[in-house]
């Protein structure tokens, strides 16, 4: 088991991949160290959100993902 990080929308292009797997617990600091510096810079911006297990975090720096969790990185949306 591992934590799956999903790159959505433009973050997928920036990361150069759809997703990545990391072993063990994933918190905010480790997430920033795990992704590329370009993606980390985006994550620090207020307009980028993070969801863990289908719930958008009110405070993304409180991220605490365990083995088996899915963490989605959510850039600003544009639908319709």
């Amino acid at each position: 088991m591992s934590v799956r990080i999903l790159f959505l929308g433009p973050l997928r292009d920036l990361a150069g991949q759809d997703d990545m797997l990391v072993e063990g617990t994933l918190d905010w600091d480790r997430l920033l160290q795990t992704v590329s510096p370009q993606v980390a810079a985006q994550l620090r911006e207020e307009r980028v959100n993070i969801a863990c297990e289908g719930r958008v975090l009110a405070d993304k720096t409180a991220l605490m993902a365990e083995d088996g969790d899915e963490v989605a990185l959510l850039p600003p949306v544009s639908g319709g």
């Binding site: 433009p10 292009d13 969801a51 989605a72 959510l74 850039p75 600003p76 949306v77 544009s78 639908g79």
Partner: protein
């Protein structure tokens, strides 16, 4: 099911409503846009749309509400989104459709990019979209 069939089925579901208002959003054929791609994140997108439909039902006096959004690659002229609201009176139906579209444009979990002559470009909500959304706050 086509847009027309969906709208007809929705309308037929509410025979006692005074009216049904609807909006179809399509890929614009302006500039040099060759294609549009919509992506989503289902664990958030589907519950989010269900909550949006519920919010519209509570905010306006509706008999029923329909919110349908496509994902994938679409070409100019093709439909992207269909929303409809059935209500006893037209104002509630019109307003509900307006409300649903403003939220689908800039507050739902979709990402949109368009392909032009020089490649793909990601689209962000315009300031106008954000102002439209703020009207409902």
């Amino acid at each position: 099911m086509s847009i027309g069939e969906a709208l007809a089925a929705f309308n037929a579901s509410y025979p006692d409503a005074g009216g049904t208002a609807s909006f179809i959003g399509k890929v614009r054929s302006d500039d040099d846009v060759k294609a549009l791609e919509l992506t989503h994140y289902e664990p958030l997108t589907i519950p989010g749309m269900e909550e949006l439909a519920q919010a519209a039902s509570e905010k306006f006096a509706l008999a029923g509400v329909l919110a349908w959004h496509r994902v994938g690659v679409m070409t100019p002229g093709q439909p992207i989104v269909l929303v409809a609201a059935a209500a006893a009176h037209r104002r509630e139906a019109f307003d509900a459709v307006d409300f649903l579209m403003d939220h689908l444009k800039s507050a739902s979990w979709f990402w949109k990019r368009e392909r032009r002559d020089d490649g793909w470009h990601w689209i962000e909500p315009r300031d106008q979209d954000r102002r439209d959304l703020a009207r409902w706050k």
